[in-house]
Every structure is written in C-alpha cells, then in structure tokens.
Amino acid sequence: MNSPPLDGHPALNQGAGWVIPAAFVLFIVLPVLVYFLDRPSEALGVLSDAIQSRDEAVRLGRLLGRSVWIAALAATLGTAIGVLFFVAFHPLSTTRRAVIGCAVAVPFLVPGQIVAIAWIQACGRAGWLTRLLADAGPLGPLAGGLPATLYSTAGCALIMALHLYPIALALAWLGWRATARAPLEAASTLMPAGRLWWTLLAGWFRPWLLVAWLILFILCLLDYSVPLLLRRHVFTVEIVSAYDIYFDAAQARGLVLPLLVISLAASALLARLLVMRRWPALGHGSDRLPTLPPLNAGVRRVFIVCGLIVAALALLVPLGTLLGMAGGWGAYRNVFISAREQVLTSLWCSAGATVACLVLAAGLAVVGMWRPRRVHRGQVMIGAAMVVLFALPASVAAMAQIGFWNRAAGPALARAFYDSGLMLPLGLVTVTLPVAWLVLHARMRQTPPVLVEGEQLQPVGAARRWWELTAPRLGRPVLAAAALVFVLCIHEVQASILLAAPGQATMSIRSMTLLHYAPDSLVAAFCLIQLAILLLGLALLWGAGYLVRIALGRWAPHHAID
C-alpha cells in the first residue's frame, strides 16, 4: 500500500529527491565540517601561541578591531545612503522610480575592486582629481589630503559603502512592499505625516534596515579586495597571506576563528531577524505599493539634493574616471584580446556555478515546506548550515574545499575531482548558496499554509504538482536569485585566487593583477569590459526568463499565482 509522504515534499521523498540534500552535504557541508574538525588542536594552538606572545596578541587584536570598525562604519554609511535614496526618490512615479532605481543600483553591479581601482585612479597620488587640485593654485595644499583620505580607514569604509548601498536601498524597498495599506491609512487619520514617519514608519522600517546593516556588515567584514587595494591590512588579508604567501595552512585556520566568531554572531542575528514571524518574509507584499505619507517639501528637497550628490559620487566619479582613463577603442580591443581566456573562464564558471547553486537552493528551499505549520527538523538544520556558510570568508570556503578534495591519502575519485577544473565553480557555489537559498526559501515560507495544504488535496502526482504549483511560485525568485548569484560569482576574488588552477584566471583576478603592471588605460578598459559583460549577462538572464515565462505560460497557466 502506498502511504502518503509525511516528512518532506513529495519531490524529495520519491525518486531522486534525496540527491539534492545528499549533494549539499557531500559537496558543501562536509568540506567545511572537516576543515574545522580535522586536527582542531592545531588551529587552537595557533591562537594560544598568539595569546601567549603579548605583541602578537596585541597585533591580532588591533587587526580584528580595525576589520570590525571598517565593516561597521561601511555598513552604517551604506545603510544611511540607502535610506537617503529611498526617502528622496520613493514618491516618484513608477516609471521614474524604476529608471532611478536601476541607475542607483549600478554600483552594486560594479565589482568592489573595480570601484576601488576607479577611486584610486581618481584620488590616488597620481589620480586625475589629485592632479587637478594640485594644479589649481590656492587649492594645491589640499591635493595631498585626497590620497590620505582614500588610503585611510574611513576612506576604505566609504568606498565599500558606495559599492554596497544598493542592498540597503533594496531592503528599504522590500519593507515598503511589505507595508499593508490599511494600517497606514488608518494611522493617517490619527496623526500628521511628519509624526507618522517618526513615530510609526521609523519603527516599521527598523528591522529591515537592521537586516540591511547586518548584511553590509558581514559582506564588508569578509571583504578582501577593497581593503587590499586601499592598503588597509584587515583580517581577511592576513588569512589569505598566511595561506597563499607563507603557505601556512594551520596558521590560516587558527586566524579564521576570531573572525568567524564575529561574523557568525552577526549572521545568526541576521537569521533571527529574518525568521521572526512578526516581520513579513523578504519579497512579501502586494504589487500596488501603498502611498507613504508625504514629507515636508523642504525636508524632501534636502534629501533629493543630498541624494543627487551621493549619486554623482557613487556613479559618475568611478564610471567617468574609468571612461576617461580608458581612452580610445584601441585599449578596449587590446585588453579584450589579451584577456579573452579569463573572460571565458569567468563566464562559464559563473554560469555553471549559478545553475548548480539554483538547483541546490531550490531543492533545499522546499524541504519541509510540505507541512507548513510545523517546524521541520531538516529545514532547521539547513538554516543553521546556511548561517555558518554566510559567515564564512570566501577564502575559508576555498581552503575547506581544497583541504577536503586534495588529500594525498584520499580516494582517487577525490583527486580526480580536484584536478577536474570544477573546484572554482564549486567554491563559488559554496560562497553564494546561502544567498540563493534565502531568496527561494523566503518565497516558499511566505506561501500561505492553506495553499500548500490545498495542493495536497489535488488528485495529481508529485511531478505534476511540482510543475504546476510549486515551480510557478518559484519563478520570479529563481530569476532574482540567479541574477544575484551571477553577479556575486563574477565579483568573487578571494575564493577565485585560491581555487583557480595553475594558468587559470577569472576576470576579477585579472583586474587585480593588471593593476600591478599594466598602464592605467588598460586597467580602466578592462574594468569597463568586465562591467559590460556583467550587464550583458544580466540582460540575457532577464531575456531568457521573459521567454521562458512566455513559453511556459502556454502549458503552465498557474504562473499567475506568482
């Protein structure tokens, strides 16, 4: 007799449903577990040695303090910029808002190291802005201040904030989407608009902004390329140096622990905020956005002016600098011909990693969703694993994968996998999986339980149920997750440096190396080519999604659910 599935989605209980969780455990969880549990005394010994040597303890303490300070400052600045844009531009019409939204989101699409390179070319010692100031006569003495500010802790934090603020803007927008119309209108009969903003909406948006702050904090804390280029010695740089320059894997493993404690605490708090039931899940909300109370005209004018100034800083200075530096078409042609291989490597690795990541994330997101009113043990464990993965520096994820697959005494299959050229995509999947899972899982979580339970009453098989009911619900989030994962993969530097096979390089590695020996024009041209390829990839993804949606519409009319 066939018994109905009780503990998981039918797609995961039948046929090959176990493959995805098993693949997750084998390729992602096990390497990380083995990395931390294999000879733990060695890693702890590194820390205890450091603590016993007072000078080393003080040095590491300062390093950690600086890393946390830069990340906190960058997160605060980034969140403030996101709020600034949100307040300034949210009352615009839908079309104008979409245009401005796309424009101000561009800095997120530009890899962090390219933003840093652009600012170095503008405000570095030989930067055009520095030279301009130096030649400006009375302003000459100020010229030295530009590189000094850029190569400072505050400068590093500002560059990170100018790169990542679109995340805060997106979270504020999600908070707006999640705002119910009726409470807002009921409150507007009770108090004036200004009071409504301060007494009510500030509290309503606080968790969303806190989520944004935490995401920015973690990303900045674990960032490697921007601090490296701006000569800020932070913990991630120390870890990669220990592993890749001094070839001391034990030292690197020991150094990870203090950083991990902080990033793990932030990641756990982030997860707590996201799953608290009082707050709607990400992406939840109606398509028609509620009208927020109008701000005082003077206040709004101030926000708009500030927003335009910041937009000019975040967009025009870096892009203008790169365009100006790159010069004629010759530079683009030369750099593209010389870097064709890196472009192709980047594209296939990122595309492959995106597909693998989405398959894994979609399979994991539906675990336990079949019983929506219960807390599923499998989903809790997956959630905990994602918290840890999100808190891992990319370099550590890469070291864990190398350590797991590259074992002299290990099975031949593992060695074969290590030599197969798949390590780089695997590293990218390890780094980006939490993001994809979060997007897809949030969508599944916000499905009303009654709909999921209703699915079970339909007299159709698991495959058809998946195709007609579950897959359409995942449609848009899959596209969003694909775009995010693709962008993050193209940007990735730390794991790419460690996992790229000899002779193999990605665009991000290439841009870092070009900076050291190539003329400015080639560096700028390559940065712009990288941005163009990324935009092209996103456009293709959007187009493919659109076509798939149209094509599936014929056979899956339920896409309207989405």
Partner: protein, 245 residues
C-alpha cells in the same frame, strides 16, 4: 445641524466611476447605517469622508467647513474622524497597547500614554490583549483593539467599515451593542457600513442605501420597505420582516 454633508459627490477609481452624484447629510450625534451590495461603493464613500480618496466632483463638508472638493482635500488627521477598516489595520510590529497609544492625542504625556491606552482597552473589554501582537489576537480581539485605537483619538465622527466582518455570530451582536453604547456615551456621529440587516439594527435607525455608486434611499429603516426596489432591496425587505418591531 448636520455634521457630515455630502453634495453631488462623484469619485472615479482606476477609470471606473465608483460614486456618482451622492448627496446626503448626517446630523451631529446621530447613528446612520450605510447599506449596499458588494461593490456598490460603500467603502469608497467612507474613504472619501475620511479624506483618503480625492473627489472628481461635488463637496464634502464636515462641521460646516469644506473638507473636500475636486481641487482640495483636507488631510485625514484634521477631520476629527475615527476610521475602522474592514481588513486588519493594526501595525504588526507593535503590540495592542502600542497600537492604541498611537491614536492618543499629542497632548498626552509619554508617561501617561500607556495608562490611557490601557484604559481604552479596558473600556472595550480587551485589557488582556494589551501585551499581545496582532498575529496573536483573535478576530474579535483585533476588532476591539482597532476600535480602541480609533476612539483613543477622541474623534467626533466614527466611520465603521463592516465592523463585524469575519467575527463569530455570537460576538457580533455584543460588539455592535458595545459600539452603540460608546456612540451614545461619547456623543459621536457614527456612520456604519454593512451589507445585511441584523440586530442591533432598529426600524427607527437612519439608513443610506447605495447601489451601483448611487444613493437609492435615505431615511429610517422602517420606511425602506416602501422603497421601490431591486432584487437587493427585496432581500433587505425580508430581513426587515425578520428583524421585527
């Protein structure tokens, strides 16, 4: 003297005419029912009175002052109106007490706000809901908290949009009796939307009947039986008979 006065009110939403040439008045301190089938424009009319929708034509006057016409709309919080929506309108990130405290006038000092909010909850019989969040409240409790918030602002006009929707049948009458008691105690002018006739409606109650965005009848409920009518009016007549004297 009428507290609410509508003259030739027309309102268009998304290109569709929802209200056309609606004129009526409600005297100060009186209670009126706004009746009509689904989609007849009842909720839109309440929103127009609250200043949440702009007019295409006509005027809305409150206490002898112009509140809305096709050019100007007085902001909702200056209309001395308490509005209770049909759908849940409590802020999910605030507990019941904080939701009610939102409605208190500005003059109430921060120290006294909690006590004043708790007092309103007690008056509505929802004191035990104070520390709970909206998703932890039952439908009836959420209604009481919403009503407490609307009344805490000390409005002169109370607009209720199907206040007993989605509530157990045995709680409906109790809630409505309580609202009427407060209406009298606080000397409110109340306009209550409903689409059916049920206790505690009385034959002497004033009724405004909307159909297809037009006002078909305005007068005591007892006289509705004499109105020439649509199938909806026929259904209402049978309900009036069941209501009894």
């Amino acid at each position: 003297m009428p507290l609410i006065e509508c003259q030739g009110v027309s309102c268009r939403l998304g290109g569709q005419v929802v209200l056309r040439d609606v004129s009526f008045s409600v005297a100060e301190g009186s209670w009126a029912w706004l009746l009509g089938p689904t989609g007849s424009g009842k909720t839109t009319l309440l929103r127009v009175l609250a200043g949440l929708e702009a007019l295409d034509a006509g005027t809305v006057g409150i206490d002898g002052q112009l509140a809305s016409n096709h050019e100007v709309t007085l902001v909702p919080h200056r209309r001395a109106i308490g509005l209770m929506f049909q759908e849940p309108s409590l802020w999910p990130h605030l507990d019941a007490l904080a939701n009610v405290a939102l409605g208190l006038p500005r003059g109430v000092k921060s120290r006294g706000r909690k006590a004043a909010a708790r007092e309103w909850l007690e008056r509505l019989g929802a004191a035990e809901s104070a520390g709970r969040f909206p998703d932890q409240l039952s439908g009836g409790e959420a209604r009481r908290v919403t009503l407490a918030r609307a009344l805490a602002a000390r409005p002169r006009i109370l607009l209720l949009d199907e206040p007993t929707a989605h509530i157990d049948i045995h709680l409906r009458e109790g809630l409505m009796r309580q609202v009427r008691h407060l209406h009298e105690g606080l000397a409110l002018t109340t306009l209550c939307v409903t689409h059916q006739i049920e206790p505690p409606m009385q034959l002497s109650d004033r009724v405004l009947l909307l159909e297809d965005g037009q006002l078909r009848f305005a007068g005591p409920l007892g006289e509705l039986a004499g109105a020439s009518g649509s199938p909806y009016v026929e259904v209402l007549r049978r309900s009036i008979d069941r209501l009894g004297p």
